[in-house]
Symmetry: C2
């Protein structure tokens, strides 16, 4: 069984990936060691910088992930800073800014960096396009899930099970690419 | 005359410091070379990380500065990410979130890092406490200046001259400490 360190402090992300790998020959081991996240325009830059940092400390294959929600009407806000914004102005702050806005499209992005010792990190990007609700709906998932309905769906990420979310989410899509890569390598 | 590199792309900050040093024996040279700004809770961490990075590239004394406005009602938002928030949701977004909020206290913080070759960076911190207006006022300065009235004043930072702003602002106070240090050393 292949062991893969997952560098994160986010239990929600760990739960999602555990569910995702349960039929695969991969064991995910959470490592809650921090790494510097840079201020950047893209998640890719944040993930690469973090992977370079961790690679100097861990001599095992590892993954780390950065994700965010980018709201078109707000010029991509909160984007790379989604976590910070969630813990300060929160979902109610987002809803307040979006009050009476008709353009409510947004995209969830996820970038996984997979890194082996002495190799360059490889990035896997997943996107999920959708729209913002006008109030919170559902209690599953975490973060912005109660505000986001993926295109073609009727329920928010917070109203569906983890299995369903994994199938269509940004993070699920990035993981699909990652595991496809791991199977081939 | 002492030469001091100022690592920044912000012309507003350069204008403020040029005005501040015009009677001193110091020449400020703007260097618009980027450095990684980390995601952190404090400006101090951001400034230190940046100074360590630049020190590896420049063999001269230099300064860099990080600043932000921390709104009490919003848990310190936008704080370290003030620039990003300014360029995405902007002042109108801030006013929207603050609509009908009675607690409007905020603090502007500035941290200058002064670094000499082969020495640890020294930090100088300035704060300016005040309140947020309910609409934009004034056209001077930059960033959040039109929304911020310092305690004891009646006008926003965007309604006063650069000389006046320097005397009471977070950045002015941090510079006072920096120049006092430079005179002694």
């Amino acid at each position: 069984m292949k062991e893969l360190y997952f560098i994160t402090g986010n239990k929600g992300k760990v739960a999602e990936i555990q569910q995702r790998v349960k039929d695969l020959d991969i064991k995910i081991i959470q490592k809650d060691i921090g790494y510097p996240e840079i201020q950047a325009e893209t998640l890719q830059e944040v993930a690469l910088f973090g992977a370079d940092h961790i690679q100097k400390k861990i001599n095992k294959p590892f993954i780390l992930e950065d994700a965010g929600i980018f709201i078109d009407e707000l010029g991509g806000f909160p984007g790379v800073y989604s976590k910070f914004v969630f813990y300060t102005i929160g979902l109610s702050g987002i809803l307040k800014i979006m009050e009476n806005k008709t353009k409510r499209s947004a995209v969830f992005r996820s970038v996984y960096a997979y890194t082996e010792p002495n190799k360059k990190p490889v990035l896997f990007i997943g996107e999920c396009f959708g729209t913002l609700t006008e109030k919170k709906k559902g209690s599953k998932g975490f973060g912005y899930d109660p505000l986001f309905i993926p295109n073609g769906e009727k329920k928010t990420f917070a109203e569906v099970d983890i299995d369903k979310k994994n199938k269509i989410s940004h993070r699920g899509k990035a993981l699909d690419k990652l595991f496809e890569f791991l199977e081939k390598s």
